[in-house]
């Protein structure tokens, strides 16, 4: 059973066991426009919730990707390094950015459910 949760900064977290896949939401990629560069975190980096973990650059601007939860980076997506446009094509699939080993699974409760995130997006429109 996988569950995807979201932050108000438009990151998503998909928990797979004790590891979570992190990326930016489809709404975020749409708002960013064409992504041309992704700065990935270092494998082994220890991140606290809210730390700047990665940077996604579109033609126009650079945007921080914040760690939605605390933990250690265990894998980065080399595919988006080579093809940043994957974030536009498939933000929540092949366009994932990094995987993090959860330091505190309890932090997940502070994130938005899919339904709560959809409701949050409506407040932005």
């Amino acid at each position: 059973m996988t569950e995807t949760r979201y932050t108000k900064d438009h990151e998503y977290v998909r928990v797979e066991g004790d590891v979570a896949v992190v990326g930016v939401s489809d709404h975020a990629q749409e708002a960013l426009g064409d992504v041309v560069f992704v700065e990935l975190p270092a494998i082994g980096a220890k991140l606290a919730k809210g730390d700047s973990a990665a940077v996604v650059e579109s033609v126009k601007a650079a945007s921080d990707v914040f760690a939605p939860i605390s933990g250690e980076v265990v894998e980065v997506n080399k595919e988006v390094d080579a093809q940043p446009g994957l974030i536009n094509e498939d933000a929540t699939g092949r366009g994932w950015i990094f995987k993090i080993r959860l330091a505190d699974a309890g932090e997940l409760a502070s994130l938005l459910s899919e339904a709560d995130y959809a409701a949050f997006l409506k407040t932005l429109a």
């Binding site: 426009g33 560069f37 650079a62």
Partner: protein
């Protein structure tokens, strides 16, 4: 969402209808990008033809008793030779402050067959300042009239001439040379057309009545070669073309020589001076300026943005990035900035400070993408 103070161009409703993502620029609610996105729009303008709404820019005319009087009035504020501007020709220049700093950059056209008239196009963000500066410096016989009832569009790219000729086959458009300007009849109205633009491509800027522009834009967009282009791609196109954007490469502290615009100061003006800040400008023309605008090419794939520090091998700051991003036709990151003249030679290795880390880059010749102007 636009607040009540936000201005709209006459094409605003069409942009919204076409699904543009709108954003504020110089007080106007403008299309930043359309559905296909900045990369696709950029490449379309390079390969076919892009339609740009630039109606937010300031259009005005200077009218006086004869060409010599009007040209002399403008030469008191700008370093270009307008006296020698032939009928039907256009020149790029700058309005200068007393220190030779750039108040704005502008296009000046001398319409054929109208003695004593010059048409001006200035930047949207500067028009109030520019027009006030002009008005307070004109002799009584020369009058500035704002042309706020006109729209301005640009059609840019290799297919621009064919697309425009399909609307007006007998207008002589194909024969126009780069930087020429003339009235062209398009049925119900006559447009003032120049063969110029700000993308590095062949193309036209078309000044026409605001109440005709939407119908005209729809006719152009019906051509399969023509796509609407937003300000996002306008910026990446001009950056690849090595062209200055006011507020980035140009401001009141920068003079035209530092900005690499000496080519726009013709010989008579260099010798005679007679424009604001002439002393500051004439000396570096001879000796070279202390800093220069250059192209910068990061060696990796990370872009450096406006404001990034430029440092030398020892980490000492030697300048700042003024525009930076991704060049879709170049296929990689590009930037422009100012560096100390000793570091301005193409190939000079420098570092750009991005998120606290030095990004290896080299000074690059400009433009990044070759110009495709139609030379006469």
């Amino acid at each position: 969402m636009s607040d009540s103070a936000t201005l709209c161009t006459p094409l605003h409703a069409l942009h919204v209808e076409l699904g543009a993502r709108m954003g504020a620029f110089a007080g106007y609610d403008m299309p930043i990008q359309f559905a296909s996105g900045i990369l696709a729009e950029h490449l379309h303008a390079r390969s076919r033809a892009g339609l740009f709404d630039v109606s937010h820019m300031g259009q005005a005319e200077l009218v006086g008793p004869d060409h010599a009087t009007v040209a002399a009035a403008l030469e008191r504020l700008c370093p270009a030779d307008f006296l020698g501007l032939a009928p039907g020709r256009q020149r790029y220049s700058q309005l200068l402050n007393a220190q030779g700093g750039i108040v704005d950059d502008l296009m000046v056209a001398r319409p054929p067959g109208a003695d004593g008239r010059l048409n001006l196009v200035v930047n949207a963000s500067r028009k109030a300042i520019d027009f006030a500066l002009l008005e307070s410096n004109l002799p009584p016989s020369v009058r500035l009239t704002r042309l706020d009832s006109l729209a301005l569009i640009a059609l840019q790219g290799p297919s621009a001439v064919a697309a425009l000729e399909r609307l007006e086959p007998n207008g002589g458009l194909a024969a126009m040379a780069f930087m020429s300007a003339q009235p062209i009849p398009f049925g119900r109205f006559t447009a003032f057309v120049s063969r110029s633009g700000y993308t590095g491509e062949d193309g036209f800027e078309i000044s026409l009545p605001a109440d005709e522009v939407e119908a005209f834009a729809r006719r152009l967009l019906a051509d399969p070669d023509v796509a609407p282009i937003g300000l996002g791609a306008r910026d990446s196109l001009r950056l690849e073309a090595g062209l200055c954007l006011y507020g980035h490469e140009l401001d009141e502290t920068i003079d035209p020589i530092e900005a690499g615009l000496a080519w726009s100061i013709q010989k008579r003006r260099r010798l005679e001076g007679g424009f604001p800040g002439a002393a500051r400008i004439q000396a570096p023309l001879a000796d070279g300026p202390a800093r220069k605008r250059v192209g910068l090419k990061p060696e990796g794939r990370a872009p450096a943005r406006d404001g990034a520090e430029i440092v030398d091998a020892s980490g000492a700051e030697i300048g700042r990035v003024t525009s930076g991003g991704f060049g879709p036709s170049v296929g990689g990151p590009i930037a422009m900035g100012y560096v100390a003249s000793f570091a301005a030679a193409p190939g000079t290795p420098v570092s750009l400070m991005v998120r606290g880390k030095p990004l290896a880059a080299r000074v690059s010749p400009l433009p990044f993408h070759p110009h495709a102007y139609r030379r006469g």
